[in-house]
Every structure is written in structure tokens, then in C-alpha cells.
Amino acid sequence: MGYVAIADRDHDIEHHDPDTFITKYIWSQDHKVIAIQYGITAIFVGVIALILSAMMRLQLGFPDTFSFITPENYYQFVTMHGMIMVIYLLTALFLGGFGNYLIPLMCGSRDMVFPYMNMLSFWVYLLSVIILLASFFVPGGSTGAGWTLYPPQAIMQGTPGTDWGIILMLASLGVFIIAFTMGGLNYVTTVLQARCRGMTLMRMPLSVWGIFIATVLGLLAFPALLVSAIMMLLDKTLMTSFFMPAISSFGQDPGYTGGSPILFQHLFWFFGHPEVYIVALPAFGIVSDLLSTHARKNIFGYRMMVWAIIAIGGLSFIVWAHHMYVSGMNPYFGFFFATTTLIIAVPTALKVYNWVLTLWEGNIHLRVPMLFAIGFIFTFIHGGLTGLFLGNVTIDLPLSDTYFVVAHFHMVMGVSPVLVVFGAIYHWWPKITGKMYNETLGKWHFWMTFLGTYAIYLPMHYLGFQGVPRRYFAMGNTDFMPASAQDLNAWITLSALFVAFTQILFFINVFWSLKSGKKADPNPWDATTLEWQTPDTPPKHGNWGHDLPECHRWAYDYSVPGYPDDFIPQNVPPEDAPAGRQHGVPEH
């Protein structure tokens, strides 16, 4: 390792601060700059995916109106929208963005343990994004196989983008996994090995716990995606038959024999289900901190919250085949996977109860981050309950591949994490930029987004019960669908466009704040966690100035009786504040 790590070096070692523009902002090894680079890139591709979804909705709401949306385009939009949102936006933003920013600051370290590798992680991620976006411009366009990329159709003639699109997609995924692994090893090692003095695991804020366990899941789940991407790439380019059975394509024999398409589904979902929790666990953690801080109350049942995160992480590896009830696998599998799926509801429900109980009798400040956090509780309960429907084999069969599924997963892993992303950006904005955002604009952004998403997704559940199939370019004249289904589709489209345009408010707020926002207080929310106790705002390179902080208590000493302030920061020694809790675990 040809560099001196700085994560916990103390003042006796001389600092080598980056001094040129390039080392400071471009080839930066500072975790905060890398976090912002990750964040901007992820939000940029997220906006592209948002535009793609608007195009899909235009077609569904007003079929035969827009000549520039062909059926091929529609499938390409579906595929790219899904893949970008799940992997290149949410995974990258939660782990590469918030993980990078928060882990060293919340754990009291100077940086990640391997800053150079951390920098490489971002640049390789950027490369994967470029490869992905390049697929829009190759002959045949990007792949239209659906974000799950199921073979045989993903690489057979007839699906859009089978010439180059699918190859670039698989290559981009492989590159992304390399980037993620380099970042992920950093996050995990930093949390495990480089916390400040006194920061035991059971004193860590839940944000760090969520990001930490999600990264562990990523390191163990992405291998399955890497392997399936390699195998499908070989099937496509070298005509191997890992996933391809003997099959006839347009009356011709493409030359495949004896492969197993179900193998791909197993490998894909062995990655795909933990992926849901890679996105959800950081959201769980962050939302816990937002609720506690803005309700001025300790998080209810901290220890159980930690164990629930760990339990959900573990269980997420043994539920994958609940995505495959209709694949024709052995029915006994369905029994097993339905059981494990419903067991996951236990720790998840525990978390929801604890969030609600944290709010109970709290001194709730309905600031923008808090609104988004409470909004998350609604959408998450909502999406979680429909998950119970789909987790049961017998109920899943009729609902499979209908708009009910679309509504379910958008509620639970689309809208919910995105609400947390916004809440988190508003919450940490003063620390990241040193400026305050516009509260009124933020509130408008929240209410229009929150109510708008319900206008989109509630009717979708109903469409699903009607049996309206998903992934159809146009419904045509189908007997079982009432004519009103089309009216609802038009309504959903209008709502979706409304929500999409609402996001402009967010960007206006960002630019307004950067330009003329009020200078932020170092700790505007009176929060306890270490990132708010830095000597500079925004924190400088090395985060802590001369001395590293020392942690003396858990992260949730809010409204402690007998203490003048309603919060005690984690670095306040017990001599100064004997009240409060020293440990997340109750004292023995």
C-alpha cells in the first residue's frame, strides 16, 4: 500500500493537505469531496431515469399520441429507468454518497482507511455510468430486456438492443461492481477498524449501522450479479449455453443447447433481493437519526434497532426466490421462501413501531427533513403491507406481473428511499455546504412530492387488482379491463408529470442556497452526533483540526432530564454532563 492512511492519525504526524484545484476537487482523496462527486453523478443519472419514466407514462397515459415513442423505445425506457434508479442512483447515492460523507464524520475518523482506493472507486463508477449512457447511442440502442435482463429474451433477436445494448449494459454492471467493491471495502474497514476513541459499535448512530450492514450485503450480493453478467456476456458473445436452452428464433436455430434460464433468475435474485435492502437499510438508519433529532427524543429501542438491521440483512439472503413464484421452480421452494419472506416482516415491523414510538410525545419540529422522514414512514408501511400480499404464493400468482407489483416496489423501494434521500440532503445540507436552504420551498417540495406519489401509486394498486399487466406498450382492446382503466392511466400520467416537474423546486432550492443562502450554524438542528461537532463548517480536510474527537456516550442523548440543553453531543465527557446514557446497551 503505497500511501500513508490518515483515517485516525493524530496531530503528531504532519498533514499534507491538497493545495491545487485538481487535487482538491477533481482527483481528490478526501471522503467528503468523493461523496459529493458520487452524489452529483448519481443525481444526474437519476434525472435521466426520471425523464425516461415520464416518457413511459406519456405513452401509457395517452397511447397513439406520441409518434416518437415506439414499442422498442418503450422497452428501452423501462429497462434503463429501472437499472439506473436501483443501481446507479440509489446504491451509488446511499453508499458512495452518504456512506462516504457520513461514515468518517460520524465515527470520528479523519478519512476513509484507504483514500486512494476510495478515489478510484468514484472514477471507476463514473466509467460505468459513461458505458451505461453510451448504450443509448450504439446501433440498435440500449437494451430493452427489462431491468431483470432475463434470458433467453435478453439476448435473442426481437428484443431491442440485443446487438450492442445488452453487451454495454453487462459491461457497465461489471465495472460498477468493481467500483462498488473498492468503495465498499473502505466503508466496512473504516467502520470496523478506524473509529475514534470511545466510539464503540453500540454507540454508533443508526445511519452508520444501516450503511455498514448494507455495504456488507453489497459485498456478498454483487458477486452473484457479476457472475451472471459474465455468463450472459459469454452466452451473447461466445455462444456458450449457460442460460440458453435449445431454442428456435424466427424459425432458425441460433445454436444454443442445454442451458438453464432459471439459473440466471436464481443468480440474479440472489443479488437482487439483498439489493432491495442495500437500498433500504441506509434509509432505515438515516430516517432513525432524522426522527430522533427533529423530535428531540432518543430513538426508541436503539439496541433492537441495531439487531433488526442485522437480522434483516441476514434474512435478505434467504428470500430471493419469492421473485420467482411463477418461474416454474419446485413448489416446495415457494413454501420455504414464502415463510422466510414473512419472517422478514418481523424485524421490519419492529423498526416501524420504534420509529412511531420515537415520535410519541416527542417535541416534534416539522422542519423539511422531518417531513420527509415522517413521509417515509407512511410510504414504507404502505409498500411493506403490499409486500405481504406478494410474499404469499397463492396471492402472488394472480397479482404477478400486474401493476400491483409495480405499485408495491415503487412504494417500498422507490418512493420510500427517495424521500429519505431528500430528507437526508436537507438535513445535512448545512454541514455539507455551510449554507441554509429555503424552508418554504423545501416544504412545498415535500408536500407536492409526497401527495403526488400517492396520486400515482394508489390507483396503480387498483389497476393491478383489475389484472392490468405491467410492461405492456399499449393495452389495446381487452375484454377483462374496464374502459375506466385507461382514464386512470391518464390520471397517473398527469400525476407523474406533476411529481417530475416538482423536483425542479429541489434544484431551485439547491442553487438558491448555494448562491444566497444564509450562512449555516455549525449545528443548526442541535444534534448530538459527531459530524455536527466539527471545528469547521463545512469540515476541512482531515475533519477534526488538531485533535481527534473522543466519544463518551451514545448518539441519542436528547431531552435528558436534569441537563440544561435538550441535547448532549457525543463528545461531551461525563464530567460535564453526568446525565444521559453512556452506552447504547443498558448499563449493567
Binding site: N186, L220, T240, G258, L267
Partner: protein
Amino acid sequence: MSEAVIEPTGGAGVVHDWSRDKQVFGVPWGKAMMWIFLLSDTFIFSCFLVGYMMVRISTTDPWPNPSEVFGLTVMGQSVPLLLIAIMTFVLITSSGTMALAVNMGYRKDRKKTFWLMLATAVLGATFVGMQAFEWTKLILEGVRPWENPFGAAQFGSSFFMITGFHGMHVSAGVIYLLIVAFRVRNGFYEKRGGNYEIVEIAGLYWHFVDLVWVFIFAFFYLW
């Protein structure tokens, strides 16, 4: 805190130990990271092997007999798995020299560490060379990723994919070992406090690659 700290016991004690101050494991960062990486890499190879087993079951054509395909004819006598046996022996031997190198590293015997690491790298390169020979032999016999004259097409596909991926790991390991070995010889680590943990970290990777080969040997060649 001024009051005496009572150490919890049982399950709570395990949690207490794991969540202790500053760091969980009493090892340097690089070593912790290598262990976590190897755990992740284990999942990659497991997925490859599970995928191979699955296609071996799903394919409709008969699976070739590995003992015959990988046999060598020596002095008119066909010896099954001869080359693979030699390759495995070479790779396991390299684990031995690596372990000695780690030991010499901790004794700060730079010269012996260098030579032992170099020996490990040479053995690793020999392994890759023999693998190239094996690939050439099979390709000349008509085995391709998409077909082979002995039966199921998946035989060639899995063979080239899995041994290729493992061979890439060995090749990367050889380069890694050479870099560390020459740095040891040039006194690179003397300037950094004379810390030779890096030899052990490289060793961890090397032993892992060897261990993976044992599984590939068992599941692909012996089954």
C-alpha cells in the same frame, strides 16, 4: 466514567467484545480489508461453481469423463489427470514457500523473504504456464467454449470460464507477489517503520487462490 466497569458475560459479552472501542479486530487495516475482500471473492467463486453444477445437471448431452479428457499419454501409457496432479502439487508447494516467506518477513530477514516470495511467484507462474499448455491441448483437440467433441457444450464453457477466472487471479497474485518481493529487497518498507505485514497480506491472497483451486480441482476434475 469513574465507577468500575463490569464486563458482561455470555451472549452480551460477545457483543461487548465485538463492539469494543475504536476497532473490532486487533489487526492492521490492510489485513482486515484483505479478509473482507476474500470473503466477497469467495462468493464470486461459489457462484461460478454453483452455476457450473447447475448447467451440468441441466444439459441434455452427456458430460465428458474428466479423467479421460484431462489425461496425458506418457511413454505410451495413458495416465489420468497427470497434468492436473502436477499443477495442483506446484500450487500447494507455492503455499508452503509463501508461509515460510511470511515467517521470514516477521523475522525481518529481508533476503530470505525476498527469495521465498520470488520462489512463490515462480511456482505460480509455472502453474499459469501449465494451465496455458492445458488450454492449448484442449483447444487443439477441438474443445471450444461453445462446443466440444466429447459431449455437453457446457463442459468447455465452464472449463474455460472457471479456470480462466482462477488463472487471472493467480496471474494477478504473481504480479502482486513480485511487486512486494522487490520492495522488500529494496528496503521500501524500512522507510515505513520496517513493517512487513504486507507480506502476510499478500500471503492471505495467495493462500486463498490456492484454496479455491482445491475446490475447482475437486468439483471440476474429480467429479
